[in-house]
């Protein structure tokens, strides 16, 4: 069996402006490609990381360009973990984590789908918050082919 390498860490930092979100997409897509995720899984990763970064910019930093959003990609052969960090106050996860925006009464709401999309497309979504330290969304996607090969 091959030696288990420590995960490769790739770090991206962008100002809190929507115009830089496309860089987040390019990085997520490039890393998913390098990891040989399927097209569908690569789409899941890119779509989810974009949602987390959008929330960090909008809700975490209220578009304040002086506060960068930090994104850390931890790449292991069989799993990708992405941490999206903002310096904001965080939020009451219990209130939103079980929201279902697909019901008839909310289907036409213009907002409230970001966390639901992340939860639907990733294997695990966790929010870490600590007073004064900000809010980090931790998104995990396993690589099914790589797991099967072990």
């Amino acid at each position: 069996m091959a030696e288990r390498l420590p995960p490769s860490k790739i770090v991206l930092e962008i100002p809190s402006r929507l115009e830089w979100l496309d860089l987040v997409d390019r990085m997520a897509t490039g890393i998913a490609e390098q990891m040989a995720f399927s097209e569908e899984d690569a789409n899941s990763v890119a779509n989810s990381v974009l949602e987390a970064a959008t929330n960090a910019i909008q809700h975490g930093h209220q578009y304040n360009p002086a506060h960068p959003v930090g994104i850390v990609f931890e790449v292991a052969p069989d799993v990708l973990r992405v941490k999206v960090h903002d310096k904001g106050p965080g939020f009451d996860v219990g209130k939103v984590l079980n929201a279902n925006p697909t019901g008839p009464e909310s289907l036409l709401e213009p907002r409230g789908r970001g966390i639901f999309i992340m939860k639907s497309l990733m294997d695990e979504v966790v929010f870490e918050m600590e007073a004064g330290k900000g809010c980090t969304a931790v998104l995990t996607k396993h690589h099914p082919a790589r797991r099967a090969a072990l």
Partner: protein, 113 residues
């Protein structure tokens, strides 16, 4: 995001390209929809074949457009939804809201045919 419109018979085709992500994008699309309705055009296609990605804020723009057009008694359809975007449509069940077509031509025919 960039937007352009053209009219085919009674149908307005709004072509979007780039990234659809809220902010100023919302106002540009709202404006185009409003102009069409004011010109008496109630049948619209938003072509998103050249949109590389949409986040949930961008979805909000499409939903708001759908609601505005429906409330005015019109119909909004989408054309050329990429695999990546249709993944989000499926997960959020927005595929039950939007009528989608493989091509602009097919969408036009569904109005006139």
């Amino acid at each position: 995001m960039k937007a352009s419109t053209r009219t085919e018979g009674d149908v307005v085709v709004i072509s979007l390209s780039g990234k659809l992500m809220g902010g100023p994008d919302a106002e540009s699309v709202r404006q185009l929809i409003r102009e069409s309705l004011e010109a008496g055009k109630k049948e619209m296609i938003i072509d998103i074949g050249d949109v590389s990605w949409v986040n949930s804020t961008g979805l909000g723009i499409l939903i708001a457009s759908h609601v505005t057009v429906s409330n005015a008694g019109g119909t909004l359809k989408l054309s050329r939804v990429s695999k990546r975007i249709s993944q989000i449509f499926m997960v959020t069940k927005l595929h039950t809201v939007f009528e989608t077509h493989e091509s602009i031509e097919e969408a036009l025919q569904s109005f006139t045919g």
